[in-house]
Amino acid sequence: MKELQVLARKLLAEGSVGVVIGYEEGPHGVRPAFITRSEDAGRLVFDPRCVHNLATYLSPRRSVVKGLGKPAVVVKGCDARAVAGLLRESQLTRDDVVLIAVRCGGVMQHPAQHVDLRAETVADRCAGCDVREPHLFDFMVGEAPTAPPATDRREARIRELEAGSPADRWAFWQQELARCVRCHACRQACPMCFCERCVADKTQPGWIESSPHPRGNLAFHLTRAIHQAGRCVDCGECERACPAGIPLGLLNRKLALVVAERFGHHASDDPSVPAPIGSYASNDGQEFIL
């Protein structure tokens, strides 16, 4: 998009940023781009195929990206929530990054070679989006887009699972998790998974064994889900990255519904809104406690 390219060119030319992290056309569709020279700014694109959460590159652990200099990042609303999360958890200071927010009307559930955004193709997670125009930004580009109606099919699936018995749910998840090879792509893709040494890699003691055995798989996904509760921004990258097609979105969405219902918490692109776990209210529900 022209506006974005012009802005990127300017920022790089004046030297206020060392790299513009955005999207570009690749051989298999859209892919992340790291533009370090203003003459390359023309490569930048933005359209509903741009599903990637570029905030993941802001983690201080990504030393190669860090080496490129102060970044400007193209963020959709959901991505801005991740930036807010990184700010909230001291992984970033506001001055460390320039945020180029784009007005977004939804992205495709399955990004393909060509743009084709319709009610049938729009991503589940775009349903009910309240950050089509992100609130956290330095620059805002793009037109207010038309957003096709999106339904979150995951919620229906969650309710369906809840209506079944624990044994049914156990069977479902065991079947799904049986395919997990513990590649940890979900962890790598997630911007909120930035721990220096993930507890899953801790061997003394080994709470979660590393081999792709059902017991370790269950422990890993239970742990990742609980660590993400209230922090997950629903960017969908974990599920997209998973080579085994495990419906991780169901787990994250389920816990998002739990924290919304119990604590009124919704993922926010406002860094001052605290995460629900790590806070408490004197009247938190305790109906499950004897």
């Binding site: 958890e89 220096e196 003691p205 709470w207 605290p274 806070s279």
Partner: protein, 673 residues
């Protein structure tokens, strides 16, 4: 390979009766890492402890597990024994096979199996125990006493007489508290002010007591031995360095009809006032809400109104522009001695209670409460010590006293007993008879609780010598009928209802903690119960400590209490504090959290959840000074060892010494063996 010693205690019959201790010792002998395993009758006895010490030396043990009673009983005992033999005390743990096993199961076989499991679990934990060193922190030998009533005064004097400095903060313009309002005290009928005021003066003159009256605690931070307290000295509008207490200002004040708080609204005071003649400090304060000067100023008047007090003052001590000022004090210990207030029916009801309207307090004239009666009886009170009705100044010939108004009533009031009312009501009947020889006192009571020294004799005296009539029963309601108050009650001993004519009714209302106690408690991180009373650390054995190290409690702010008990508590708190201060450094159990900076991702979830603010931020820089990352660091002096940080840390980069992941994992793992 670990070399752990296991010692299984019979505890006489307590464990031995249901647990086969010899078999437990035998089973543990086979356990990997156990180098020594025996059973013995009484491990906590001298010979028992000697067994441990001997084994440590002879078998070169690197860990000790005593399978016996609860660690709450004897962990310290056995740790000391281990230390005596040269083994770090934190390499010693206990398996609870008494309270948690032998005492609660009858089936000998299953109890023994469970005891073996429990012992093995602790052995596995101890394999991961690390030697820990007691933490030593410096201590500031100054104490803060919050509240200048009798408890606060006693605590301050005892601490100061013990050689340490005290800062005494009192929110009212004078110290003395409710005891200064009393006429006489039970069971001696000592004149209250006569025994109190010498103490007040002693506080004022004591070289080691810094008295901050008309002041409040604003902020508290820090930890035992090292608190930092910000105190707000409220503006009296009088310069205390110039005022000599002559009283010319109060005489000159044009406002004379303000209900006096000291006289419980039965008398009047001026806008610039000293609460009572023996006030300490004897410096007046201006009540800005009622002072003509300040009221005009608040309305935006450009010309100063009144100012007669300033004109009357020969020392130019009145300072209308005075502002609140702030002081920061460093102290090593804090005593909470904020005392009580009486349950005010009709006004500011606690927790949504709206009971006792039927007793007419605030609506029916001449229905008063206990403190108001004290002011009537007091020689320095609004009636000069004469018992007179507030409505018409006539002498009442019949007074009815109602006990338990608001107390012992889970339905409408507070469930607890306010402890002092039976005694002061008896006292009131006696004072009344002594002043009004033909007066008749009737007391409606449920029980007479007179358990102290000379207390029962005192209540008997009221009945047998001073003619008080005691009716066992409650009053349903009372109302005004012409010049008298009709009191409808019930006598449960005769089984008859009765209606009495009274000229005055005195309600013995419940004792409650002072307003604002919750906010103060939260500043100090001490807990309180649903009524606001401060929680003691242990109801039996630690009555003057709170669960926050370094913060002590004395007097009626912890529970309804009379003067002797408040004084005793205050002295006890002072003794504890002087004990604390007697050490060059404070020793703390080293069960504290430690962050592994190399693993910490600097997300600071731990900082957010730490109840004590023990987590600080530390910059990690390279040799050139380039900032590499900012990580969490735990201040071992502040950390109290709850471990919430560790459970919250996603990567487990912070570990709680004594309860590390390795240790807990080992315990869970052991249960599967």
């Amino acid at each position: 390979m670990a070399r752990i010693g296991v010692f299984v205690c019979h505890c006489g019959e307590n464990i031995g009766r249901t647990v086969d201790c010899a078999r437990v010792a035998e089973a543990l002998r086979e356990h990997p890492g156990v180098a020594h395993s025996v059973d013995y009758k009484y491990m906590c006895s001298d010979p028992g402890q000697a067994l441990i010490k001997q084994a440590i030396v002879e078998k070169r043990l690197d860990g000790v597990v005593v399978a016996a009673c609860s660690p709450h009983m004897h962990e310290k005992t056995f740790r000391r024994a281990c230390a005596g033999a040269g083994l770090n005390p934190f390499l010693c743990e206990m398996a609870n096979v008494r309270e948690h096993c032998s005492w609660i199961h009858e089936d000998r076989a299953r109890a023994t199996d469970k005891a073996i499991d429990l012992a093995r679990t602790i052995v596995e934990k101890v394999k991961h125990n690390r030697p820990l060193q007691t933490i030593r922190i410096p201590v500031t030998r100054r104490a803060l006493v919050i509240g200048g009533g009798i408890a606060g005064i006693q605590a301050a004097l005892d601490i100061a007489d013990g050689g340490a400095e005290v800062v005494l903060v009192e929110k009212e313009p004078s110290i003395g508290g409710h005891m200064s309002q009393l006429s006489e005290t039970f069971p001696t009928l000592d004149c209250s002010q006569c025994i109190l005021t010498p103490r007040m003066v002693e506080v004022y003159q004591h070289p080691r007591i810094k008295l901050l009256a008309f002041s409040e605690v604003d902020e508290v931070s820090g930890y035992i031995g090292n608190f930092t307290v910000k105190i707000r000295q409220k503006a009296r509008a009088v310069d205390t360095s110039k005022c000599n207490g002559c009283g010319a200002c109060t005489t000159a004040c044009i406002q004379r009809k303000i209900p006096s708080e000291f006289d419980e609204r039965l008398g009047m005071r001026s806008a610039i006032y000293v609460p009572f003649p023996q006030a300490v400090p004897n410096t007046p304060v201006i009540d800005r809400a009622n002072c003509a000067y300040f009221k005009a100023k608040a309305k935006g008047a450009t010309k100063a109104a009144c100012g007669k007090c300033a004109q009357a003052c020969s020392r130019e001590a009145i300072d209308f522009d005075q502002q609140d000022s702030f002081l920061t004090e460093r102290v090593g210990a804090i005593v909470v001695a904020t005392g009580f207030q009486l349950y005010q029916i009709g006004a500011d009801q606690p927790q949504g209670l709206t009971g006792y309207g039927e007793y007419g307090y605030g609506t029916v004239p001449d229905v008063i409460d206990g403190l108001q009666f004290e002011r009537l009886a007091s020689a320095s009170g609004p009636t000069g010590g004469k018992i007179l009705r507030p409505s018409d100044g006539k002498e009442p010939k019949r007074i009815v006293f109602l006990q338990c108004v608001g107390s012992r009533d889970p339905a409408k009031g507070m469930a607890y007993c306010s402890k002092i009312c039976c005694m002061y009501v008896a006292k009131h009947t006696m004072l009344y008879r002594h002043k009004v020889h033909d007066g008749q006192a009737t007391v409606f009571y449920m029980d007479i609780r007179a358990a102290g020294k000379g207390y029962d004799e005192f209540t008997r005296r009221a009945i047998e010598e001073d003619g008080a009539r005691y009716v066992r029963g409650r009053v349903a309601r009372l109302y005004r009928d012409g010049d008298v108050i009709k009191v409808h009650g019930f006598d449960t001993l005769s089984g008859e209802p009765l209606v009495l004519d009274a000229d005055m009714v005195v309600l013995a209302t419940a004792m409650r903690p002072q307003p604002g106690i919750e906010a103060l408690a939260q500043k100090l991180s001490v807990s309180y119960d649903q009524h606001g009373f401060i929680n003691e650390a242990h109801p039996k054995l630690r009555p003057v400590e709170t669960n926050t190290a370094g913060v002590f409690v004395a007097g009626a702010c912890q529970a309804p209490r009379d003067i002797p008990d408040s004084v005793a508590m205050a002295s006890a708190a002072a003794a504890k504090i002087l004990g604390l201060f007697s050490q060059a450094e404070l020793e703390r159990e080293p069960i504290v959290a430690r962050v592994d900076a190399s693993l910490c991702a600097g997300c600071f979830h731990c900082e957010r959840v730490c109840p004590y603010g023990a987590v600080e931020r530390k910059e990690i820089r390279d040799r050139k000074g380039t900032l590499l990352k900012v990580v969490a660091e735990v201040n071992p002096g502040v950390c109290q060892g709850c471990g919430t940080c560790q459970a919250t840390c996603p990567s487990k980069s912070v570990e709680l010494d004594g309860f590390t992941d390795q240790q807990i994992w080992a315990e869970i793992n052991a249960l599967a063996l």
